[in-house]
């Protein structure tokens, strides 16, 4: 199932599951990720699953690329992933203050703001991966009519809670951060909780996420809670 395993530097293994970005490939990555995580292989320090790759870092004092590759090839990957994937509903406010790029997208896509929102809210999205910044979910796939390129010049600061679009994906900025995605709205709820060890991320790989619209008054009510 892994198409290729190579070293990434002297303390990481790069598992390549192909070049496709689709749910089927990603579920294979998630399956490997969950299995390897459960097995506590000697020396493994971190696992980074993404659309179609899995990177495993290790402590060079405890193992090596050759040893860990062998451990991986002997691993019995169970066929079924525990089906713990959740369905999560995220409130989203499209007030002008939050929908930073919608005026530009209206022109670019020749669609009204209402049309854009309707298309966006009509789908349930699959969480491919989380990361870049802590807790940021990468969700897909967007309806083809609202797929976009990144901004030519990224923003220095994207506000926390912003929901952005790029290519077939949307994401949620869990912190204020630099970023180049097209911002359409903002959620008042906490996606990453640094105080919760058991469940720091609200959204995890494999989860199904949908959005619903709230007005500014409702936004502020949740935000201030």
């Amino acid at each position: 199932m892994i198409k290729n395993i190579v070293n990434l530097g002297d303390a990481a293994i790069y598992c390549d599951f192909g070049n496709e970005v689709d749910k089927e490939t990603n579920l294979k990555v998630i399956k490997y990720f969950k299995n390897i995580k459960d097995k506590n292989l000697k020396g493994v320090t971190n696992l980074s699953p993404s659309y179609n790759k899995l990177i495993i870092t290790f402590d060079l004092n405890e193992t090596s690329f050759d040893k860990l590759s062998l451990d991986l090839s002997n691993l019995d990957i169970e066929n079924e992933i525990e089906n713990k994937c959740q369905k999560i509903n995220i409130p989203l406010c499209f007030d002008d203050e939050y929908s930073l790029d919608i005026p530009r997208l209206e022109k670019k896509l020749s669609k009204s703001k209402n049309e854009l929102i309707k298309i966006f809210l009509s789908k349930t999205y699959f969480c491919y991966m989380t990361g870049f910044i802590a807790g940021m979910p990468f969700l897909g796939d967007l309806n083809k009519s609202i797929m976009l390129d990144r901004l030519e010049t990224p923003r220095v600061k994207v506000p926390k809670g912003s929901v952005g679009l790029t290519e077939q994906f949307c994401n949620i900025y869990t912190f204020e951060s630099p970023g180049g995605w097209n911002i359409i709205g903002n959620t008042p709820i906490k996606i990453f909780n640094s105080l919760s060890l058991s469940k720091p991320n609200l959204i995890n790989p494999g989860d199904e996420v949908s959005f619903y619209e709230i007005n500014k008054k409702e936004y502020l009510k949740v935000y201030n809670e």
Binding site: V6, N7, L8, G9, D10, A11, A12, Y14, N19, V21, F33, K37, T45, N46, L47, S48, P49, S50, Y51, N52, K53, L54, I55, T57, L60, N61, S64, F65, M129, T130, G131, F132, I133, A134, G135, M136, F138, T174, F175, F192, S194, L197, P200, N201, N204, P205
Partner: protein, 314 residues
């Protein structure tokens, strides 16, 4: 009696760190931890704490700390200019790699690192802080770690554990410079032109001011990508040299974003990481290509050297 430091000045980026935090990369939290592992281990060994105890790491200008408590020892490692103002106003110029006795009311002013970036400060007995998610490392960008995930702030206090008994100890040690930073080819090395591959391993690059715990941006000859300047976002590891469309390499450091979409030209070997991160802006870097087997051997030698250094502590 509660013994503590009052933070008169927090410094530029002073954080508690240990060896790093495992098992959270998949939620977007980098490994973090001390940038210069050798100087971290030396500090803890000289002061007779556990090897994995947390230390205070600072960059460029460090903190200024006023001590309240009974006599105890401190140590600073790295290449650091600091002074201690005694309660009777007498000033002592500090020496790195040597325990220094401090007394109630003394002020330790960590003025700056010399031609390097990071230094380490600790006390016998250690800092009274809690592990967060299995580690004392601070990832400021995510707000995770001791001190509520923050760097040291002016006016705060740092509580200390009870001091353990030690004799004064020191080490005769000078941080050596390195001629080349050694690199293993990355997974997208083949995206680049033959000329750029040759340039990378023969021309000089300069560390820019855009350098911090997350990454080090370099300038020099631009690297030409013939295939594609973006890849589908995938995991990253510290030491990765990624090259965005503008052709200027960025080396990812301990607090790097966990995933990214720039091609991976190479990865700095583990044995050279401590030396790499100590290069301040304006430093010149030359890279040398190396194979995995050689990198693994160099790491063993690095460990042996560290042990030899620790054995010289008297």
């Amino acid at each position: 009696m509660n013994e503590y430091f009052e933070v008169i000045r927090g410094g530029i980026n002073s954080t508690f760190q240990d060896e790093g935090r495992k098992n959270f990369s998949h939620i977007g939290l980098p490994f973090s931890g001390v940038m210069d592992k050798r100087n971290f281990v030396i500090a803890n060994t000289i002061i007779n704490n556990q090897k994995e105890d947390p230390v205070l790491e600072f960059a460029y200008q460090g903190p200024s700390l006023k001590y309240f408590g009974n006599k105890r020892f401190i140590v600073i490692t790295g290449d650091v200019n600091f002074k201690i103002t005694k309660n009777n106003k007498k000033e002592i110029l500090g020496n790195c790699y040597k325990t220094i006795e401090i007394d109630n009311g003394d002020i330790i002013d960590i003025i700056s690192t010399n031609k390097s970036v990071y230094g380490y400060f600790t006390v016998n007995g250690g800092f009274k802080i809690n592990r967060v998610w299995g580690s004392y490392s601070t990832t400021v960008r995510a707000g995770v770690g001791p001190n509520k995930g923050n760097k040291l702030l002016n006016g705060q206090n740092i509580k200390l554990n009870k001091s353990n008994v030690i004799q004064s100890r020191s080490l005769n040690f000078v941080n050596s410079k390195i001629e080349f930073i050694r690199v293993i080819k990355g997974t997208n090395f083949q995206f680049f032109s033959d000329q750029s591959k040759r340039d990378f391993f023969s021309k000089v690059f300069v560390v820019t001011k855009l350098t911090d715990r997350m990454g080090m941006r370099l300038e020099g000859v631009k690297l030409k990508n013939l295939k594609k300047t973006n890849i589908k976002s995938e995991g990253l590891v510290k030491g990765t040299i990624q090259v965005p469309a503008d052709g200027n390499p960025i080396i990812l450091l301990s607090d790097h974003g966990t995933i990214g979409g720039y091609p991976k030209f190479g990865v700095v070997i583990s044995a050279d990481y401590d030396k790499l991160i100590q290069l301040p802006p304006g430093s010149k870097i030359k890279f040398k290509e190396i194979l995995l087997k050689d990198a693994e051997n160099l790491y063993k030698i690095y460990n042996m050297e560290t042990n030899n250094i620790l054995n010289k502590i008297k």
